[in-house]
Amino acid sequence: DVKVTQSSRYLVKRTGEKVFLECVQDMDHENMFWYRQDPGLGLRLIYFSYDVKMKEKGDIPEGYSVSREKKERFSLILESASTNQTSMYLCASSLDRSGNTIYFGEGSWLTVV
């Protein structure tokens, strides 16, 4: 079974702090994604990556950056956390860009106070 692991399930951070959300997949998938999920807005794509060291902006990249130094790991970085970044963050991976199943992690609940 594919496993997408997000290192932190629940985090509380202060405004202005730098926040790292880590995601690891164990199936040698090419594509990895970061979404945030907010009530009434569904999942919105922040960044995605289809290869090591490659990244593409999603629909809401402002305030975020990403890093993909190794194929299995995709990190989401909040350089200076703000209260409007309080949300559930979901990492996902898929085999390639041909529309295969996307597998999600369990999510990371981030609260910025």
Binding site: Y35, G42, L45, D59, R97, G99, I102, G107
Partner: protein, 112 residues
């Protein structure tokens, strides 16, 4: 920004009733996926539809992809309390680097 409009946003029904959830867009998708999400968990794939006009059945769930591949529906027959959850549609855009965009979700509650 591509939009995928999902409706209704909330649905509360009695056990045994039927329901339909809709997803509509002006974009043409390579495929469309339906997910179900439980509280505190990530979404889990239910089905992928690829061909315009395609219909797929999963027990009491029927999924349809529009002929123009811009819209889809999920129909549940004789809903049960175990169907309660958040249902998400997602359209796959192959010509944009393999991007999957989601609808807003439908929160379904089936009461015994």
């Amino acid at each position: 920004t591509q939009l995928l409009e999902q409706s209704p946003q909330f649905l509360s029904i009695q056990e045994g009733e039927n329901l339909t959830v809709y997803c509509n867009s002006s974009s043409v998708f390579s495929s469309l996926q339906w997910y179900r999400q439980e509280p505190g968990e990530g979404p889990v794939l239910l089905v992928t539809v690829v061909t315009g006009g395609e219909v797929k059945k999963l027990k009491r769930l029927t999924f349809q992809f529009g002929d123009a591949r811009k819209d889809s529906s999920l129909h549940i027959t004789a809903a049960q309390p175990g169907d309660t959850g958040l249902y998400l549609c997602a359209g796959y855009l192959y010509n944009q680097g393999g991007k999957l965009i989601f609808g807003q979700g439908t929160e379904l509650s089936v009461k015994p």
